[in-house]
Amino acid sequence: MAFTATLSTDADIATIYLAGELDASTAPDFHEAIDDAAATGAGRLVIQAADLTYIASAGLRALVFARQKLGDDIVIVITGATEPVIRVIRMAGLDRSFEMTSS
């Protein structure tokens, strides 16, 4: 299934726009975008998830990797996540580890 992870930066904010299905076969692309985002040195990472239709544990592992890679000083915000994505993040007990906003 098609998946894209697109990084853009604006001032001190790095944004990764996710679209499609994030599973074991597509998670490496997200992982790479997180590495690139970390390299920008931005103080805030926004993950735009409104067009992310599915996430599996491989995607959650990438989110945990982002948290571990960026360290506690950098805020990670997940915006606009859809119901199936929110449900999986909650099932894994990760909803308290990231700031989640509706848009």
Binding site: A24, P84, V88, L94
Partner: protein
């Protein structure tokens, strides 16, 4: 039993099969999603930990009964009970220090209403079940 190559790239076929099965059973979206997630995680495990990404085949079959929808995976990789890798997320451990193995099996078993594993005649057989009625 329909068979697909045991590779991560082929798992879209599992998703497609589950989607059609859920539709046939008239599962509401939330239950269809739970079945798809569990099927995806367990099939990924068979590819990665069962066959260790060597060549193999994965049999996929499913059906609709009065009370539940079932989906069965069969493979001839080494004996592999997915429940052996189960780890409950360490909710009390900050995410920065959390171990991140075993999450897929945890999600799969949490998502399902029933799961059985058997080793029969050199094959691993996993059966996944989702109820058709009751709470979502």
């Amino acid at each position: 039993m329909p068979r697909i190559p045991a590779s991560l790239e082929a798992l879209d076929e599992v998703a497609g099969y589950v989607h059609a099965l859920a539709e046939r059973a008239g599962l509401p979206a939330s239950r269809a999603h739970r079945l798809r997630l569990a099927a995806d995680e367990l099939a990924t495990n068979i590819v990665v930990h069962g066959y260790r990404e060597t060549k193999g085949e994965l049999g996929v079959e499913g059906g609709v009964e009065d009370e539940s929808v079932w989906l069965r995976f069969e493979d001839d990789a080494q004996p592999f009970d997915p429940r052996d890798g189960l780890q409950t997320p360490e909710q009390d451990v900050p995410v920065a220090q959390r171990r991140i193995g075993g999450l897929g099996v945890y999600l799969a078993l949490t998502a399902l209403d029933g799961f059985t594993y058997e080793r029969v005649a050199g094959r691993n057989i996993s059966t996944l079940r989702i109820r058709r009625d009751g709470a979502t």
